[in-house]
């Protein structure tokens, strides 16, 4: 286990070297948050309640989303793994006495930790200064949000790991990103909070893994009854299920890939 914590810390330190990018990221997230919030406020001024969401719920989700979006990396960046598969550098990754999935998970959690603390928290703080957000009032509620964010980061990793792992078979994963870069943000509730979709559509999307990265953490923050089982526990269970299933699939495909597939390049 020591090796994973060492890789986690190395990942954290690696991203901490990108200071200007972090500041630019906070600015981008805040500006997008303001624009989205303004649009939704205009909508809710016409219809004050849509499928259980009011204006404050929607604006809160917008800023939870902006705080989380870089951490779960739903819009990228892809894991370096894809480029390493394409160039054959993954060969050196496979020469370590450490399983590939665990190594990349540890590194990405280091990145996610840096991102949530130094990009997510400031973005949310800017949101609370500019708008009235509905944030949790108790320590227990905050703990549930924190757990949800952690699970969202694991799901974000597992999905990107699977996208890139496909590179062992199809070589270039940019096509996958072209599709998931469009579908992912819609299905996750980045583009619009899912309650703004027709209820049947929203229910289907809520059950898919992308919703577990943004929509479910937002609903846990808001304490919504639309969560699976009507409570935070149900939402966390759904997220944990996706995290486990996707990691398991990743592990299976990793061993299939390394057994059958050719490492590129001389």
């Amino acid at each position: 286990m020591r090796v994973y914590s060492a890789v986690y810390i190395a990942g954290l330190r690696r991203y901490s070297t990108y200071r200007a990018a972090t500041l630019a990221g906070i600015l981008t997230n805040s500006v997008f948050g303001c624009i989205n919030a303004a649009v939704l406020l205009a909508l809710f001024s016409v219809r004050p309640l849509i499928n259980g969401y009011d204006a404050a719920d929607a604006v809160t989700q917008v800023f939870v989303c902006q705080a989380l979006v870089a951490t779960v990396a739903i819009l990228g960046p892809p894991l370096d793994l894809g480029e390493r598969i394409r160039s054959g550098a993954v060969g050196t990754d496979l020469l370590r006495p450490v399983p590939l999935l665990g190594w990349w998970l540890a590194e990405d959690m280091g990145r996610a930790t840096f991102s949530i603390v130094f990009r997510g928290v400031p973005t949310l703080l800017i949101g609370t200064v500019l708008f009235d957000l509905l944030l949790p009032g108790t320590a227990g509620h905050w703990a549930a949000v924190l757990a949800s964010v952690a699970l969202a980061a694991v799901i974000g990793f597992a999905l990107r790991y699977l996208y890139e792992l496909a590179g062992f078979w199809i070589l270039d994963t940019r096509g996958i990103w072209a599709v998931v870069g469009l579908v992912g943000p819609v299905a996750a509730g980045v583009l619009l909070p899912l309650p703004l979709f027709p209820p049947g559509v929203a229910d289907v999307l809520r059950a898919l893994p992308w919703a577990s990265m943004i929509q479910i953490p937002a609903e846990i923050t808001l304490g919504k009854e639309s969560l699976p089982g009507g409570s935070a526990a149900g939402g966390l269970a759904l997220q944990a299920g996706w995290a486990a299933a996707l990691l398991l699939l990743g592990a299976r495909l990793t061993s299939a890939a390394t057994r059958k597939v050719v490492v590129q390049g001389g």
């Binding site: 070297t17 050196t92 020469l95 450490v98 399983p99 390394t258 059958k260 050719v262």
Partner: protein, 325 residues
């Protein structure tokens, strides 16, 4: 052979082969073609040997290296490295070998070199005291001191290579596999790395297998040379034996007093001329040829060139060329 177990086979390959299936032709009419990258290789490397694995591009060197380290599964034959089956026991084998690919790095690009080296301690579960001792040793030998705190992306190629070598050796592997370890390095960096490898082999008995296109590496380092061509072994033995197996004639370089028409001398064949300088391939005893040239011409200077290993290997490749690829 400084190792107490010098009879131990570190690498044992019997009939080792790897095929690749290529799809070619237009979509919907693709045909599959099987290409053998490596075929029927028998190779035994014993503890303490330094073996140069040579061959032209595409000969099957890298495929062999990948099979030895477990990242490519052989399609035929059997292979054991340190008693393990590499493809099946890749992760376990990785703890006992060190690998450096000259064109790749295992170091973390954005972090100081010492961070990557510290990480290897956890990766290979080396006790902290052993790690510190060995790191101090390698830092001294490879002169890492001045750039240990520098982010890897700012290192020169020579510095990075020394860092990569250190990362591959901190856990004290019994076998070191090097894929073009001196590629792109200047003369001084090459010399540093060669001296270091020789010392590692002499003092710790580390077995070294290296591929290279730099024949200086081979001449300086390898007591055994294995040449692969079109996927099969073309030669396995020492350097002197390789030179004997593929006789490449010695060349006499004659500087005449003034430019002259090509010399015609018994026992030598004219190769080319450049002003007053002429190159003659010797078929006979050099002293006899020199005497004959001197008899009819005024000689300003003379040099006798021994064939270098580059010429020998090239001749070996050419000899194998007529076989279908």
């Amino acid at each position: 052979m400084t190792s107490a177990h010098s009879d131990d086979a570190v690498i044992e390959a019997v009939g080792l082969g790897r095929d690749f299936v290529l799809s070619e032709g237009p979509l919907f009419r693709r045909r599959r073609r099987t290409v053998a990258a490596v075929r029927g290789i028998d190779l035994t490397v014993r503890a303490g040997e330094v073996v140069g694995y040579l061959g032209p591009n595409g000969a099957g060197k890298s495929s062999t290296m990948k099979m030895l380290t477990g990242i490519l599964t052989p399609t035929s034959g059997s292979l054991r490295v340190l008693g393990m089956e590499p493809a099946r026991e890749r992760t376990r084998l990785a703890s006992h070998i060190g690998v450096v690919f000259g064109q790749r790095t295992t170091l973390w690009w954005d972090l100081p070199l010492k961070d990557s080296l510290e990480l290897t301690r956890h990766m290979y579960r080396v006790p902290a005291a052993d790690h510190a001792r060995r790191l101090a040793e390698l830092t001294g030998l490879l002169e890492l001191g001045p750039f240990l705190a520098t982010p890897v992306r700012q290192l020169s190629l020579g510095q990075r290579m020394r860092g990569d070598l250190t990362a591959a050796l901190l856990h004290g592997p019994r076998l070191l596999v090097l894929d073009e370890p001196t590629i792109g390095l200047d003369v001084v960096s090459k010399a540093t790395i060669r001296e270091f490898l020789l010392r590692l082999n002499a003092e710790e008995g580390t077995t070294i297998l290296l591929t290279t296109h730099d024949l200086g590496d081979v001449e300086r380092l390898c007591d055994r040379v294995v040449v692969i061509d079109h996927g099969s072994l073309a030669y396995d033995g020492d350097l002197a034996g390789l030179r004997a197996a593929v006789p490449v004639p010695r060349v006499l370089v004659v500087d005449l007093a003034e430019p002259s028409p090509p010399l015609e001398v018994a026992g030598a064949r004219f190769v080319r001329a450049e002003g007053p300088r002429q190159w003659l391939e010797l078929e006979d005893n050099p002293s006899a040829v020199i005497a004959r040239v001197a008899a009819g011409n005024e000689i300003a200077d003379l040099t006798l060139r021994e064939p270098d290993i580059e010429g020998v290997v090239a001749a070996l490749y050419r000899g194998a060329e007529p076989r279908p690829a």
